[in-house]
Symmetry: C2
């Protein structure tokens, strides 16, 4: 920059400090036994009522007479429109559906601070209307652009200045990442971690707590506790360059995969780049916004209180009225998306020369900004493949469903963003297969070309750039931190 | 990959071989004195007539009655539609214009081969309808997806198999890059260099020649000789990691900037990443396709043989009829875009601790896939800023226009893609300023925040990823190879 505007930390230095924080299960700053009590107390302190209502009862939202799009009277926040997608030239490759259009870039930010020489992360107990359990652990700041430019007309957002004022804090992570490509058109959020000085005291109050990464790792083994936004940001923490690791148990081969840049990999960065470029170039994905009215031609039925696909699959668009005691705005209406069946997001991993490798998929999805992103090995709704006329099961689903309990290194239910999605809980799993497992077996040549074996360190390096790793795979990367 | 599908070269090894090829001004394989004769002979051998015609005389193209969009009867190739753009919230931030919509990813590929131990590149003498001089030096293969999936119903494309059949050749470069964001909506091409074995003879014929990078460097100092697609691919050649450089003359400080990864830089990669993420997050760019008919509201007038802005600025959409003796299809019509005034694309460079740094701009343009890309310091049409009611001149235009002849290290006219643009010639310049030059002087705080000093090696590292470096800056990076 002409004059350097703000300090940005060296990634390898951050990697070492992140891994050191992961080693601390309880620093005493926020004693671990007190965390559940804190969450229960915060849940009791805030009143938060969510009622599903007919569309016509929504305040501030209406269907535009010109095209049927569902939008806010201010023209801001987001809208629900129609999306038409064509993939390639064959018949049956055209699909239409409702989609969330939110072109503004939001901010997901975590404040970090060194306390007693260990990096701590400031998390928030935050309520969202779509959360099954109302309150989950969230980033320090979670804001849409509309929030912080004032259209919301809400109260100010705490700690936002630490992220927006250059030089106010030191940047550890700063990258745009995507959100669910099935429901959002090219949505991006700025994922940030910024560090304040060790002597800088913040007035945090009762909604916030300082936790080590070791504490967050433990929370990630529980269902529906660490929200999607926090998982997304944590996955972007650099780990490659964090040093060499001794040992050969699962924890060691996983940790080596995260940290040791000199460890052998099945694919080089250049090979991964060329493979992924090939997928993006040869898979054709043509997206076009259409009026929400026009998705009726693709099987979507618009009732008084839902827009749903007549097959009973996919998702529904609902309307909700929310009353909150502790939000910038005390009462509002908004649309929410409800998936009809839970997803299975499973990452197959195996040891290769003492380094854990993950089998990732180059996935094409309707809302992608740039055709494809890396996704978990299995990214589907199993229920969609059980019905008599169901689509064929995706590759490796049988491997995951047939795995023994011992192969499940991680198996937890996590929620998707409660600000847009209603009770969206999905199963996240990490499944270890023997080193002899051949990814190409049982799949045709074409399918095998869409998958690659990568280390966790390679994934965290790619996460320095946007739109390589989808939000579901970011969740699994964050969860994998719990396992070493 | 599950099984490795194709070999991909190590980037640092490629960098060393690329720089070695740049050192060879004439290998004797294609003697340099014979190049101009070869081009003249190829120009004489092919008949190529381009006539501007009324829109209604176009064959296969028509304005869609529903929305006025200009499209091909096959539904493929590309279309001319309307684009509405909003930047931020202020008044006067909404703009509409015609735009080329071509969602398919094309291929720009150069075949490389080691001859006498030196990397050579196979270039093509190729005619394009929009070229001022009909024929320019082009990549080995230049193909749209429609070309190679057969909608074109043309003859097969030579050497395409080297790029599309995995393992047929070794990959040196493989990345998606953008094209002109003023005229294309989110257009991407796959930029590739693949290497065949030193003993593999290709039947190249009269349209192709093997050149060293040293020879191509010399050709880049001439006007309108190396086409945009070739410049784009050449800019993606890795150079960082190519080794240390002695000396302190301009050539040495430039070469060090390209190659020496241990040389000091003003900004780290992490600092650049955070700065650029901030621009993409905080600049709001909302793009929406609209009917081409609807751009009339933004000052565009649709006549029988042009669509043009009533201000006399910007560009015109024209119709052309082309007759060619040496193309897959012998006669066709197509729209072409003609800019009204030439652009000035100038890169300000200065020495910092013996390493040349370039002042790049994080530019927001209407057709960008992801809000902003890095652009030359000055990227404008000077004529647009001369009229009485003209827009204010952009930062640093005065520095470039006021520079002495000795400061112009490079100053050449190059053409934009002749397959879409009619006689689009722009001035490309590299201007050296003293080390004491302060980029922030004479600009306000906001403006200075949109610029950063980077080395050429940092730029070629970013070019391993797509959508960081715009096509105009790629041209200047390719041209800078001519100067060390």
């Amino acid at each position: 920059m002409g004059a350097r505007r703000w300090p940005v930390a060296d990634r390898d230095e951050t990697a070492r400090r992140v891994l050191a924080s992961a080693e601390v299960p309880d620093s005493g700053v926020t004693p671990s036994p007190e965390i559940s009590g804190w969450l229960a107390e915060r849940a009791a302190a805030g009143r938060f009522d969510v009622a599903l209502i007919p569309f016509e009862a929504m305040r501030g939202w209406h269907f535009d007479p010109a095209n049927g799009n569902l939008r806010h009277e201010s023209g801001r926040f987001f809208s629900i429109e129609g999306l038409r997608v064509r993939r390639g030239d064959g018949p049956g490759r055209v699909w239409g559906q409702p989609i969330i259009v939110q072109p503004e870039v939001g901010l997901l930010g975590i404040v970090a601070r060194e306390i007693h020489g260990v990096l701590h992360f400031l998390v928030q107990a935050k309520m969202e209307p779509g959360n099954i359990n109302t309150l989950q652990i969230s980033p320090t700041v979670q804001a849409t652009r509309s929030n912080f430019t004032g259209v919301h007309r809400g109260r100010g957002i705490r700690f936002l200045d630490l992220f927006l004022e250059p030089g106010r804090a030191r940047v550890l992570v700063d990258v745009l990442q995507s959100e669910q490509a099935e429901w959002f058109l090219a949505k991006r959020n700025r994922n940030m971690v910024v560090e304040i000085g060790p002597d800088e005291e913040l007035e945090t109050g009762e909604d916030f707590r300082w936790l080590t990464l070791g504490q967050i790792r433990a929370l990630l083994t529980a269902d529906n506790l660490v929200n999607m936004d926090a998982r997304s940001v944590l996955a972007c923490l650099p780990t490659a360059g964090g040093g060499q690791v001794a040992g050969d148990d699962f924890a060691a081969v996983l940790r080596r995969s995260f940290t040791d840049r000199s460890a052998p990999t099945l694919c080089s960065a250049a090979e991964l780049g060329s493979w992924f470029t090939g997928v993006r170039a040869l898979e054709e994905l043509v997206q076009r916004l259409i009026p929400l009215d026009a998705v009726a031609a693709h099987g979507w039925e618009h009732g008084p209180d839902e827009i749903a696909h007549r097959s009973g699959h996919h998702f529904r668009v609902l309307a909700a009225d929310i009353t909150a005691s502790n939000r910038e705005v005390a009462r509002w209406s908004q649309p929410l998306i409800q998936q009809r069946h839970p997803s299975l997001l499973a990452l197959i991993v195996k040891r290769v020369d003492g380094v854990l490798h993950a089998l990732v998929q180059a996935r094409v999805d309707v809302g992608h900004l740039n055709v494809a992103e890396l996704a978990p090995t299995v990214h589907c709704r199993p229920a969609d493949h059980r019905a008599p006329e169901a689509a064929p099961a995706p590759p490796y689903l049988d491997v995951v469903l047939g795995a023994s309990p011992a192969q499940f290194r991680y198996d937890t239910v996590q929620s998707e963003e409660g600000g847009r999605f209603y009770h969206a809980r999905n199963r996240y799993a990490i499944v270890e297969v023997p080193e002899s497992f051949d990814a190409a077996s049982g799949t045709d040549e074409d399918t095998a070309g869409d998958y690659a074996w990568v280390t966790f360190g390679q994934l965290t390096e790619l996460l320095a750039h946007g739109n390589y790793v989808n939000v579901e795979l970011r969740t699994l990367i964050a969860c994998a931190h719990a396992l070493y």
